[in-house]
């Protein structure tokens, strides 16, 4: 039962490895956006520190959103998405596999590079640990929700901008919880409540969103 899913995962990862620039672009975007913030608001370390959770999270969220346009569009253009509908597996699981592969390629590198940017913004080690944990739980949520928008804009002119309008409002809860977790540690309280809620949200998204995405793919290919 899982062999087709493994085949799909391997295919997507292989393709990503053959074109590493796609994944690197996303990480590059993340780094550049964060680097621009001090230029806009001044170099005061304390001030930057207080803004760091929000800045890092908003930058990560935008990076994920930009990367999502590619999630289905390549498969849509060459016709492999159509063939996926004929694969004898539930479309929800196939979609989930693709999202997982996409997260490994784009989401995970963001988590891994985040400490470097956090140091630039003067976060302390314990805060960085929470930041990474929050991003580790949070970026899959962003990918899962964003996949719905990616599917709904398949084949549309100006799809990239439209994804932003459709998806960014839905990113409010993970943003609040994720940035809030780091903020809580900075103010000397525990991040546990934030992280638990974020975890609950990820479990919910994991079970609910792939079906919505699958429905959206079917509709857009209809």
């Amino acid at each position: 039962m899982f062999r087709p899913l493994l085949a799909l995962l391997r295919r997507d990862l292989t393709l990503a490895l053959r074109r590493p620039q796609d994944a690197l672009t996303v990480v590059g975007f993340f780094v550049v956006v964060v680097a621009l913030f001090p230029l806009g608001i001044g170099p005061d370390p304390e001030f930057l520190r207080s803004l760091a959770p929000g800045v890092l999270w908003v930058a990560a969220l935008l990076a994920v959103m930009l990367s999502l346009e590619r999630l289905f569009s390549d498969d849509y253009r060459d016709g492999t998405l159509e063939q996926l509908l004929l694969v004898p597996e539930p479309m929800g699981l196939l979609v989930l596999t693709k999202i997982f592969a996409h997260w490994l390629i784009t989401g995970l590198p963001l988590v891994l590079i985040s400490p470097l940017l956090a140091i630039q913004l003067n976060l302390r080690p314990d805060e960085i640990a929470i930041l990474m944990l929050a991003l580790l739980i949070g970026t899959p949520i962003l990918s899962l929700i964003g996949a719905i928008g990616a599917a709904l804009t398949l084949g549309l002119r100006g799809g990239g901008v439209l994804i932003a309008l459709l998806i960014l409002p839905l990113y409010a809860p993970p943003l609040i919880l994720g940035a809030g977790a780091v903020d809580a540690v900075m103010h000397g309280s525990s991040a546990q409540a934030h992280l638990s809620l974020l975890g609950a949200m990820m479990v919910f998204a994991l079970f609910a969103t792939p079906w919505a995405t699958a429905a959206a793919v079917r509709i857009m290919l209809d």
């Binding site: 493994l6 295919r11 060459d78 159509e82 063939q83 694969v87 004898p88």
Partner: protein, 207 residues
């Protein structure tokens, strides 16, 4: 190969505001081929996509035996293979990889030798290890056909399979189609060329 009939009952489809066809009915039994003909824009591709369960008809239903095609046990893809206008090949992968992965996704990964033999018979010997983006249109089409023919499906739905193919390959394809029919498979095909196939052929004219 197939033990059930494939039926379309009272199908209607519209694109945009326009009614493409309505009250379309046919029944295809194992060993039969259906050629769909008609001028451009009369809804051939729409019909084939409906038959493959990829889009929903405005009215009517497609049946595999007694089951609606979109709710066949194990998924639509267990009973039919579909080749549309697009070749559904990954440009960054070789022909061989493309076929092996499609097999893996379909749940029955063919042997490497079988794949090479099939590619060879379609005149692609020596091109197996090249990323698909270096192949010509006709060659890509052949890889896609090889992929389809290697999936053991009872019903093959082919949208313009002859497009961009040269004469020798058309002959090979004809042989493959006849062999599939002889194995009690079913085929639905659209083409501009006259098909000269030995077997139980039906014609459906649209528009």
């Amino acid at each position: 190969m197939a033990d059930r009939d494939f039926r379309a009952v009272d199908l209607a489809a519209e694109r945009g505001e326009r009614l493409l066809f309505e009250k379309l009915e046919f029944r295809l039994s194992p060993g039969q081929l259906l050629q769909v003909s008609g001028r451009n824009g009369c809804g051939k591709t729409s019909l084939l996509r409906i038959l493959a369960g990829l889009s929903r008809p405005t009215a009517g239903e497609v049946y595999w035996g007694d089951e609606p095609i979109r709710s066949v046990d194990g998924g639509t893809g267990t009973c039919l293979g579909y080749l549309g206008h697009q070749n559904a090949l990954k440009e960054d992968m070789t022909a061989e990889e493309n076929i092996l992965i499609a097999g893996g996704l379909g749940g029955d990964r063919p042997e490497r030798e079988t794949v090479l033999a099939m590619l060879g018979s379609l005149g692609l010997a020596g091109y197996e290890d090249l990323p698909v983006r270096f192949l010509s249109q006709g060659q890509k089409r052949r890889v896609a056909l090889a992929r389809l023919l290697l999936q053991p499906r009872a019903l093959l739905i082919l949208d313009e399979p002859y497009a961009a193919l040269d004469v020798q390959v058309i002959e090979v394809l004809r042989g493959a189609i006849e062999a599939h029919l002889a194995r009690k498979g079913m085929i639905i095909i659209t083409t501009h060329q006259a098909v000269d196939i030995d077997g139980d052929c039906r014609n459906l004219h649209l528009g």
